[in-house]
């Protein structure tokens, strides 16, 4: 299975994301922000970093880069799409998932190992986890506070579309401790913490993040997201 990993100018975590894909047993394909097609990939990851220097708003410029056009079209037809950190911000700017990411409530950039609880293990990217499974993966962001209006929040809660929450103290001011959300279909997931930095005990705090990558390979092997 071929998983595309996008590099925008200013992306940082594309190599770790590609490594995580290979570690999980998939083929990682590099996609460039200027690519007009997706080189036949079965899923796409928008990795973390500071695309376009976070100018204007995080993800606001990247969202209109050429590669996003085929990605949005494919994701709307069910192609699995994961946005991590800056990738999550791109998904929110593209309105592929509801809400927005804003400045951490305490203003400081956060970089630490963070405990999460998996709230929805029915998506293309979370099926390898048990429901309510607790995992520890790195969290590193300056603008990670998930914001949405009350109506959207009630909808996300009611439809089980919050896929992961922070455990313990709220690290960045996200509403309802939201660390990740999915779209209605469950093929698009935005996640603020970084699973690609926690795929083996040698280089990460845990290997807990690997499940996101094995999940999508399993979903694709089973015929993709209906």
């Amino acid at each position: 299975m071929k998983i595309g990993v996008v590099t925008f100018p200013g992306t940082l975590d594309d190599r770790d994301a590609a490594r995580a894909v290979r570690h999980a047993g998939g083929d990682a394909v590099s996609l460039w922000h200027n690519d007009a097609d997706l080189h036949g990939v079965d899923a796409v990851i928008l990795p973390g970093g500071f695309s376009y220097g976070d100018y204007l708003r995080c993800g606001a410029i990247s969202r209109f880069s050429p590669v996003m056009e085929p990605i949005i079209a494919a994701a709307q037809k069910g192609m699995p799409l994961l946005g991590i950190c800056n990738g999550f911000q791109v998904l929110a700017e593209a309105h592929l998932i509801p809400g927005a990411l804003t400045r951490n409530h305490a203003l400081h950039f956060i970089c630490k190992d963070q405990k999460l609880v998996i709230e929805n293990n029915q998506t293309a990217w979370t099926s390898a986890f048990a429901e309510k499974e607790e995992i520890v993966i790195p969290l590193k962001n300056g603008e990670g506070a998930y914001m949405c209006d009350d109506q959207t929040l009630a909808m996300l809660e009611g439809e089980g579309r919050i896929i992961a929450r922070y455990v313990g103290e709220n690290p960045n001011g996200s509403r309802n401790l939201i660390a990740g959300v999915t779209n209605e279909r469950g093929n698009i997931v935005g996640l603020m913490p970084h699973p690609e930095h926690a795929i083996d005990a040698l280089t990460g705090p845990t290997a807990d993040g690997l499940g996101f990558f094995t999940s999508v390979l399993k979903a694709l092997a089973a015929g993709g997201v209906k």
Binding site: L56, R57, A60, F64, A92, E93, H95, P98, G99, A100, T102, R103, N104, H105, A106, L107, A145, M147, C148, D149, G173
Partner: protein, 81 residues
């Protein structure tokens, strides 16, 4: 040449930690007038001649699509003399 100004502000219900930090810094410098501070963005767009209604409508569209994120922000468009 005229200048079109687009002001973008976070919606009132969205927490503005930067504005809060400014509000907290002011009294430390002896400025005690501020009850609250909100921080926003201002875009100055130069165009040739007086902007037409059609141009302003285009700017409105651009402000909604790119300059602001309607999920968390509001904007105003005006022409500066």
């Amino acid at each position: 040449m005229a200048k079109i100004v687009v002001d973008v502000m976070l919606k009132p219900e969205i927490l503005d930690p930067q504005g809060k930090a400014v509000a907290a810094a002011l009294p430390r410098l002896g400025f005690t007038f501020a009850k609250d501070v909100r921080q926003g963005k201002r875009f100055e767009i130069e165009v040739d001649g007086q902007p037409t209604a059609a141009q302003l409508a285009e700017v409105e569209k651009a402000a909604e699509k790119l300059l602001s994120n309607p999920v968390i922000e509001t904007f105003t468009v005006r022409v500066e003399k």
